[in-house]
Symmetry: C2
Subunit: 304 residues, 2 copies
């Protein structure tokens, strides 16, 4: 079951539409050029998690791609309408425990000063994929794949749209297909100069356990630095805030593959699949740590 | 005026549809992931130019992206229907001299063995953009922009889909916007190791004039090697064949920016805009050669 709501100036709360009926023009640059931006948020327990972080990140994606998107208020209103329809459509007592709220805005016409308004903008709500929930429990096997870019490209080449979440995800999807063809589940991209970047649809976390001078255990949570051009992970950000509150040390890359292999644990995190332990890299088992996974999972579950 | 024809098993000649009405699902991976392939061909003088080359290249794009697309015969039938509708709709004596035939296939559902059939596949015919025809006459100012990849990436990282013409064109469009914001018209991408690659929607050609031992002039036409991961240009291929027949020497990169600055002339070529002379690189005038432009244009005009 999917609910669809378009943002439409004529409908302040959003325009409810049939997701099974054709809704988009074949001339929409969202489809002809993969030219638009998106976000995926988790809807669970009656709440869209990290909604404001998703709206903020979408505003950054729009800015990087010279796209004027609907206001945060218009998105919030359309989301509220979509969720209310979605909840009403669920069989009593059988609403999915976890659902995905997806926001998409495609490029529209160009204004006189060269800025583009949006063409179409809509919200869908649908059940979260079963696969992601299962992987959260079992963990995943991951291939390290070269993303082709070096880790300094974002700074020198803004036209590559690093750090923007655009609809042009063909390479991300191809990398995951490549992993599956080779017996793995997912991918961690590396830069051509050997840095760990991100997953095609996730952020990379690693944890270490050390002893300080007084013999106390220090837990450290590390993620690659944003300077490498990766997407700022909303889930990573929320976990980092929770981990800091619980006394963990925090670190921001550079991360190299050897750091993944030496870590106490490695996880891919994303808004819908949440925290997924990595069991192996390129076919070789790496450390996993059930205690840390449980601790981080509890932090993830507490995200609002 | 645009004519739209879907490839549809229930309609052997293609299913004519209204391009101004919504036709696509918001859940189509073509729009949610920029996941599909396309081609743009020129329709002029009653003929779709280089149709078989476009169909061949689309088949390669589909293979690289693990996508099963309609057969060449199905495309040909849909194109014939679209053109016949287009011609019939044109005012008598006022048919556009040049039109664009665009073929698009988006990703559909996955089969048991992990291969994806197409989701939607369609043909549009519409008038060629005025801008491209004007640029062909005036020439263009070009910025050299770093594509972020080094020139060996295609070989080592097939998951980057180099050489496939996918719908994920957000970066290509962003590069052209960047050029326009900076007073230029178009872009030539360079690799991070300093090689000339291609334009966001075109192939790069350069020509030199030399004297052989006998004092005869030797004209040489050069384009970057495909090993750099660029798209094989159908127009470049056709021009090379014509130039060879007329006694030119042919060369395939590596090309560096200095070669562009030293050449007798530099052109961007593509199926719809055809042969466009480059007047300047990064704000500095480069050599142009009206005689060579005329000679190459005549070859382009003779392409079938």
């Amino acid at each position: 079951m999917t609910v669809l709501v378009f943002i439409d100036p004529a409908h302040p709360g959003g325009r409810v539409a049939d997701p099974d009926a054709p809704q988009l023009s074949v001339l929409d640059p969202g489809v002809t050029r993969g030219d638009g931006v998106f976000e995926s948020a988790l809807y669970t327990g009656g709440k869209v998690r990290k909604l404001e972080m998703h709206l903020s990140r979408m505003a950054v994606s729009a800015q990087v791609t010279d796209l004027i998107i609907p206001s945060a208020g218009a998105w919030r209103a359309a989301i509220a309408t979509a969720i209310s329809q979605y909840d009403a459509a669920a069989s009593p007592g059988a609403a999915p425990a976890e659902s995905v709220v997806k926001l998409i805005a495609t490029r529209g016409a160009e204004s006189a000063d060269g800025v583009h308004d949006y063409g179409s903008a809509w919200v869908t709500v649908s059940p979260a994929p079963e696969l992601g929930r299962r992987q959260r429990e079992t963990g995943i096997d991951v291939l390290l794949l070269d993303r082709g870019y070096d880790s300094t490209v974002a700074e020198r080449a803004p036209w590559l749209l690093m750090g923007a979440k655009t609809l042009s995800y063909a390479v991300n999807m191809a990398a995951i297909r490549h992993a599956k063809r080779n017996g793995a589940d997912d991918v961690i991209f590396t830069s051509s100069d050997g840095r760990v970047l991100e997953g095609p649809t996730s952020t990379v976390l690693l944890a270490t356990r050390e002893r300080d001078e007084a013999g106390r255990e220090v837990k450290r949570l590390v993620t690659p630095t944003l300077e490498t051009g990766i997407l700022p992970g909303t889930t990573q950000g929320a976990i980092f805030a929770a981990a800091k509150a619980e006394g963990w040390e925090l670190g921001y890359g550079p991360v190299e593959p050897k750091h993944l292999r030496e870590a106490a644990g490695v996880w891919l995190v994303s808004s819908v699949r949440l925290l997924t332990p990595v069991n192996s890299l390129d076919g070789e088992a790496i450390n996993t740590d059930a205690e840390l996974t449980a601790e981080l999972s509890a932090m993830v579950d507490s995200i609002n």
